[in-house]
Amino acid sequence: MDILSLFVIVPLLIVLALTFFAKDLKQARLISVVGMGIQFAMSINLIFAYLKERAVNTNIMVFTRDVVWYETFNIHYIIGVDAISVVMIALTAIVLLAGVFISWKIDDLPKEFFISLITLSSGVFGFFISTDLFTMFVFYEIAVIPMYLLIGIWGSGPKENSAMKLTLMLMGASAVLSVGILGIYFNSNADGGALTFNILEIAQVNIPEAAQNIFFPLTFIGFAVIGALFPFHTWSPSGHASAPTAVSMLHAGVLMKLGGYGVFRIAMYLLPKGALNWSDFFLVLSAFGVIYGAFGAIMQKDLKYVNAYASVSHLSLVLFALLMFNKTAWTGAIIQSLSHGLLTAMFFALIGMVYGRTHTREISKLGGIMKVLPFIGAIYVITGLAYLGLPGFSGFVAEMTVFVGAFQHPDMFHRILTIVVVSSIVVTAVYILRMVGKIMMGSLSNDDYKDLPKATWFEKTGLILLLIPVILIGVLPLGLSEMLKESIQPFLERLL
């Protein structure tokens, strides 16, 4: 068994173990935490194994494995990773483990909760390791569909509608995506040779420009909907607000990254001319998304909605950076994905903790929480500062790289868009500082909050797990960009 397939097999084994052996909450969370701990250890191991392998192996993908699946369609189960997928896998493992800790006290149907959560995670891991379009698409849909149950059963507020809206929009997008994938497949023999779903093989093919112009927008939108592209982002605020804490964390932290990753790896990499022809259009949309999300966040009264709109803003920035077509911006996009994944997961976890104690998420009803919950309050302030881009944390590194990359374009159009997008930093500072100031500082808004229970060990573990990589990226950004450099090279060769 190769070390990549284990990322899919271990979650499936955990699901089976949960199905047959878990009797109550204690056993369910024990099995999940052990399983996700293994997964986490494997991902750390993968980083080092990757660095070691990279030193001797110059292929685009390492640890590859190729098993024929559907012979007649030339569908293979092909796996392999480059630096981008490795860091995404690590992000997933961290957020997932933290998510299990945060869900320590889930009371309704605990077994089913962890089963759905871990099924979803196997889809995400499978997505990041596969380098075959069909296999990747299968994993993508496996990652999306459990969200319906996760939000619908364990959510809050208008959970049924939010779950339905989210599922239909994401599955509708993946339906559009499937047309794009078929278009790529049937053009993969443009230079002669057999039809194939193999991403690395298609990357060698010059697909006719007319076909690229048709299938690029389909593929791009198919992925970008889950990456919260304006105007297809509407599932995100209501979905995140209704979802239970761990699901919001995983969804905003990891699942939405599938969008950017897919756009980069499939839409842009396989259809470069289509990407160049369409880039201006989508660039305007994503720039608008950045600004719109930021202003949307200012207007919100509910903490989760603030964070959901902030996610729209920050993930549009990822798409924006990807469409800038240069190395610095792409590196920035990947770091921004990681940084946002960790920070938004922390935010959702913290909001969940505050909500679990005070039973309200309305900003106006909260105040002075820092006095009663010092640990949670401190982490909240740190997260907020990191989120708005304070040097020393990952947010600063990510946004700085993105904007430096974006500004490298000498023409007026890109310059103006970049300047507009940069201004979102100010708006971000406004809503983050206002939110943090209002709920953490000042006098206690409600006397009932005096005896709120302090953070428990599992909550602290979850938060610290997320905080460590945030600081690591913040103080050692060079290591990360150095690691990504080589994996971005093939994209540069293909697209520029």
């Binding site: 699946w69 559907y70 012979e71 007649t72 369609f73 569908i75 069909f134 698409f137 299968v138 849909e141 496996i142 569909i145 319906y148 149950l149 619908g152 059963i153 959970k159 049924e160 779950a163 339905m164 599922t167 239909l168 599955m171 509708g172 339906a175 559009v176 499937s178 047309v179 078929l182 278009g183 497949y185 049937f186 048709i214």
Partner: protein, 476 residues
């Protein structure tokens, strides 16, 4: 004709033997032994199904009226497996409700004669044989639809079914006679050589097609479907939606790909429009249904639209994807109908809101229902996803991207109403939830077989690869 070539009809002979044995059993059993017909018939059919996995040569009989090849043989075995699962699911209903009325063996006889009809229909080598097969498929089902004799809605359904079937058969027969008038032959092979595109032949084709479209319940010939399904006993509705529809689709495909190939330019356009209309009508009407039988009726109309996508690719790929999807669809639909049957025979409840809170009382049934519905909606890694994706592939291989796009939009619409059932079972909680019950042995066996089909038929790729490898057998 020697014995060896006679054995080409092995599957048909097997079914005939079962029929005769059932008659003998009926004659010689006394009142107390009547219930034993259930295991007796099931075992016989299981043996016949198992024999279907042995290989069989291709060939023709009766001067080309009957022909068989690997693909047809595979499909017959699939149908037989489907009927076996269906009968397993209905065994307990028979035991409780029908044996006392002394009608249990007739039920088996009617179903098996209808199955025999589908065998002859898909194996036909000329239009006469085809027509006999079609009628033999249809008429026993009309009796079955009215099996709840004293239920008014059941009788109404039966009348609707027999009248619309008669009309459809008449239309098909009229079309056949026009085709005979243009070509002077009723044999598929010689007609394929002679047929050219003329006004008369197109007119003949259109009548013939509308006759078959009734059987597959394609729009705009679908009006009988929901009423008949609602009136019929659940297992008969299930039979109509999987076995008789599946067989009709396959014979339609065979005829379009061989006999009517000279008219391809014409039927391509007709099918294109019919696909779009069928999918939209099936899906949009399904959204509003409360009764699960009507719900599944409209869902099966929509599914028929998806199946026809494979017809856009007149080659090995189109053939393989259609046969594969029908096989997958049989399992998925039997899973869904099986759960409805189980719940209905326990509680007499058939509406979607009766299922509220079902997961908390009957987790296994709800899980199977969810798997079956997700498979119908095309969610990986269930079999339905692969079936649908391959159908899209077939249509896209000929460049029909717009059609595929409309199809995926419809797949999303269909996901909405399948999720409505999932929502009732999983998301809602109810005080009047159907209490926990344990299904009897046969039912559980039938459900487990369907579940295995849903889970395995997609991920286990050799099934599709095998179908693909035998799919060119009738094309040349």
């Amino acid at each position: 004709m020697n014995l060896e070539s006679f054995l080409l009809m092995r599957s048909e002979i097997g079914l005939l033997a079962i029929l005769l044995l059932l008659i003998i059993f009926e004659i010689f059993s006394n009142k107390k032994q009547k219930a034993a017909v259930i295991p007796f018939a099931l075992i016989l059919l299981a043996i016949n199904t198992a024999l279907g996995f042995l290989p069989l040569a291709s060939g023709e009989l009766f001067g080309g009226m009957f022909r068989t090849n690997a693909l047809l043989y595979f499909f017959k075995t699939t149908l037989s497996l489907g009927v076996l699962i269906l009968l397993l699911q209905s065994a307990d209903w028979l035991k409780e409700k029908v044996v006392d009325e002394n009608k249990a063996s007739e039920f088996f006889m009617l179903i098996i004669s209808s199955l025999l009809g589908t065998y002859f229909m898909i194996s036909a080598g000329d239009f006469l044989m085809f027509y006999i097969g079609l009628e033999l498929t249809t008429l026993p089902v009309a009796a079955l639809v009215a099996y709840d004799t004293y239920k008014r809605i059941s009788a109404e359904g039966a009348v609707k079914y027999i009248l619309s079937s008669a009309l459809a058969s008449g239309a098909a027969l009229f079309g056949i006679s026009l085709l005979y008038a243009t070509t002077g032959t009723i044999y598929f092979e010689s007609m394929a050589e002679i047929l050219t595109s003329s006004n008369l032949s197109i007119l003949g084709f259109v009548f013939f097609f509308s006759g078959l479209a009734f059987k597959i319940s394609l729009a705009p010939f679908h009006f009988w479907t929901a009423d008949v399904y609602e009136g019929a006993p659940i297992n008969v509705a299930s039979y109509l939606s999987v076995i008789s529809k599946g067989a009709a689709v396959v014979i339609l495909m065979i005829l379009l790909f061989t006999v009517f190939k000279p008219l391809m330019e014409t039927w391509n356009k007709i099918i294109y429009i019919v696909i779009i209309a069928t999918m939209f009508i099936g899906n949009l009407f399904a959204i509003r249904q409360q009764n699960l039988k009507r719900f599944l009726a409209y869902s099966s109309i929509a599914q028929a639209g998806f199946i026809l996508l494979g017809l856009m690719s007149v080659d090995q790929l189109g053939t393989a994807t259609i046969v594969y999807f029908v096989a997958v669809y049989i399992f998925s639909n039997l899973g869904a109908f099986g759960v409805v049957q189980a719940v209905s025979s326990f509680s007499d409840k058939e509406n979607i809101n009766d299922y509220e809170g079902l997961y908390r009382t009957n987790p296994k049934l709800s899980l199977l229902m969810m798997l079956a519905l997700f498979s119908l909606a095309g969610i990986p890694p269930l079999a339905g996803f692969f079936g649908k994706f391959f159908l899209y592939t077939a249509a896209a291989s000929q460049g029909y991207y717009i059609l595929v796009f409309i199809a995926v939009v419809n797949a999303t619409i269909s996901l909405y109403y399948y999720l409505l059932v999932v929502r009732a079972m999983f998301l809602r909680q109810s005080d009047q939830a159907i209490p926990y019950f344990r299904s009897p042995f046969y039912m559980r066996l039938g459900l487990i077989l369907a579940a295995i089909g849903i889970l395995v038929a997609g991920v286990y790729s050799p099934i599709y690869d095998y179908i693909f490898s035998i799919s060119n057998t009738f094309l040349n």
